[in-house]
């Protein structure tokens, strides 16, 4: 049914349509509304049979999901930010054991400094944990990816993370088509576990594995993700047939056919980028963009095909691999073997810094002119950073850096929170 609702509510309804049997979660902003929505669906009996388990931490949430999944139940949880770090050990266990848990990540930064706003640092921290990672561009896609995620996870016996931008999607009211139970049932078969614990037929799950077999088990996870490269587009196609709209897949190119410049990004920022692409196309610039829906597995071949003829590629990245730069661009270079394509890494939107059309356009134009640095930080207040570096050079006991920068910027910044670009190009948003 077509409706105007909050992203979190739409995702809660979509997850419920997938008939999870166990939901265990610990609330954390900006994921909270999703699990609250599911809790009330379980309480009202609308989602039944399903056990909703309140746990005392994220570590417990993932551990309970592992137990439930190992017992043969379809298990779901959701988290964000510090929560995913707190459950990190169990996140690796879920994939190492081959348990098809689906988890929503309401993408949020990682502290310190503490910050509740959106970026991709949390998902990136766990990108090598062996989970499939899908990024939603809109709330419609977040809904659709959850339905695909259960099917994908169960077919491969591998957990799937559906990443959706905190606030920008989780808290946004948008038009969403929430499918019917019949449609979802037609797409997603009943879960038949590849393995499960059963007192009548005892097995061990989680054996100690020595050097003689550990590499093989790890490699198997990689082999399955390579299989997922085939499966994800097939599933998106099947989804289109059942639901009548395109969602998911590995990559989604936008106006790339003859593009000399291609912008690549994960998640909801792609919509803003597409608007800029349209504006620049109107001005005669040959530019396109590509939304990277699957980050793990990384679709090197599919992306390489899209980037093919482009002479420059710009990645807009909401995470910073401190000490080197881009996570996306680092992976993306694998798609461009032997080509002399210029790759520009642009770090943007950390901790909820607004990613604006104006700044994106300035950045793309600088890349085309050849004046953009290979690694740049969009709307970074360079002067504020320089002043802090000066202070640190001048004295030893300069105190905590975050507090010093807040003091330096003055009181209005704290009050204006996430929504303005605090940099020199600031346009107040209130």
């Amino acid at each position: 049914m077509l409706k105007q609702c909050e992203g979190s509510q739409a995702v809660a309804e979509a997850v419920a349509l997938c008939r999870p049997e166990v939901i265990c979660a610990y609330p954390i902003t900006p994921q909270t509304h999703i699990v609250e929505g599911l809790a009330s669906l379980v309480k009202s009996g609308a989602l039944s049979p399903c056990e909703y388990i309140n746990v005392e931490s994220e570590f417990a949430a993932m551990s309970v999901a592992i137990g439930a999944s190992a017992a043969g139940a379809r298990a779901y949880t959701a988290t964000a930010s510090q929560g995913i770090l707190y459950m990190a050990e169990a996140v690796y266990n879920a994939s190492g054991l081959g348990l098809p848990i689906v988890m929503t990540v309401g993408n949020r930064s990682i502290g310190a400094p503490i910050n509740i706003w959106n970026d991709h640092t949390d998902s990136m921290a766990l990108r090598d944990a062996g989970w499939i990672q899908l990024f939603a561009e809109s709330n419609q896609e977040a809904v659709d990816l959850h339905i695909q995620a259960f099917k994908l996870a169960e077919e491969l016996s591998m957990p799937v993370m559906v990443c959706m931008d905190g606030f920008i999607l989780t808290h946004a009211y948008e038009r969403v088509d929430v499918p019917t139970q019949e449609q979802v049932d037609a797409f997603l078969p009943r879960y038949v576990p590849r393995q499960s614990v059963d007192p009548d037929d005892p097995v061990t799950i989680g054996a100690m594995v020595g050097p003689e077999a550990f590499m093989e088990v790890r490699y198997l996870a990689h082999a399955k993700q390579m299989e997922a490269l085939e499966l994800i587009p097939q599933m998106a196609e099947e989804f289109r047939r059942v639901f009548g709209r395109s969602s998911g897949g590995l990559v989604r190119p936008y106006r790339c056919e003859d593009a000399e410049t291609i912008v690549c990004a994960l998640g909801s920022v792609n919509g803003t980028i597409q608007d800029v692409v349209d504006e620049m196309r109107e001005a005669g610039v040959k530019i396109g963009s590509v939304s990277l829906c699957s980050f793990r597995p990384f679709p090197s071949a599919a992306l390489g095909k899209v980037l093919g003829h482009a002479s420059r590629v710009i990645t807009i990245e909401k995470s910073l691999s401190v000490g080197i730069g881009g996570n996306v661009s680092h992976n993306l270079r694998m798609s461009l073997p032997g080509r002399d394509t210029k790759v520009y890494t642009v770090i943007a939107g950390l901790g909820g810094r607004a990613v604006t059309k104006a700044s994106l356009r300035r950045t793309f134009e600088a890349a085309i002119r050849g004046t953009l640095d290979p690694l740049s930080f969009m709307d970074l207040n360079v002067k504020a950073v320089e002043r802090q570096l000066e202070r640190e050079k001048a004295a030893r006991r300069t105190g905590p850096a975050a507090e010093a920068i807040l003091r330096d910027l003055g009181p209005t910044v704290g009050a204006s929170a996430s929504t303005t670009t605090h940099g020199p190009a600031a346009g107040a948003a209130h």
Binding site: K3, Q4, T29, I116, W117, S138, D165, F167, I168, H171, A172, Y173, E174, R175, S268, V269, G271, T272, Q274, D275, G352, A354, V355, T356, K357, T412, G414, A415, S416, A417, S418, T419, T420, G427, A428, A429, H430
Partner: protein, 179 residues
């Protein structure tokens, strides 16, 4: 507002942004209405209309930055624009584009709690003609079921009628008087 837009068959997007999760902390929310799909998810930095739910913010934060020169302003206050110290703003906008409405008082009377949102939405729609009152009512009933919804609808109707009659304090009127 976005639900009201959806009721009228338009594309709508609403995004809140908040920091400190406590009552009384300054928060901001954005809404866009369009005839086609809205893909951009940047904050609104050049609004066509600004609604101020708490007038104590007027002189703390630059709430009118980026406002369109033909934009609209609705402020939750029983005082006039001049009394609120925004006479200059009123002069810079077309006549009748600034409106103050005692939304908290209206809400208290109908709902029994200081929740001015529905009242301000109705006032904004009366001022701009952006949404029909029926759409506002449908949105309120969609969001708040039963008695709470009906009380908010009654409050919204009062505000809408008040603004349509021009008995809320339109800044331009104040301005004309001041001149």
């Amino acid at each position: 507002m976005s639900i009201g837009g959806f009721v009228e068959g338009r594309w709508a997007q609403a995004i809140p942004s908040f920091g400190s999760e406590r009552m009384g902390a300054p928060v901001v929310a954005f809404c866009r209405l369009h005839d086609r799909e809205i893909r951009a998810r940047e904050p609104v930095t050049a609004p066509d209309a600004v609604v101020i739910q708490d007038p104590t913010l007027l002189h703390q934060i630059k709430v009118f930055d980026g406002l369109s020169p033909t934009g609209y302003v609705v402020i939750n206050s029983g005082r006039s624009a001049d009394e609120l110290g925004i006479g200059e703003l009123v002069k810079s906008l077309p006549a009748g584009h600034v409106l103050t409405v005692p939304a908290t008082e209206i809400a208290l009377r109908h709902v029994g709690r200081p929740v001015p949102n529905a009242v301000l939405l109705a006032a904004l729609c009366a001022l701009t003609g952006e949404l029909k009152l029926e759409s506002v009512e449908a949105a309120i009933r969609h969001k708040f079921k039963g008695d709470v919804g009906e009380r908010n609808v009654a409050a919204a109707r009062e505000a809408h009628a008040m603004c349509a009659r021009g008995t809320a304090a339109k800044g331009a009127v104040t301005h004309a008087q001041a001149v």
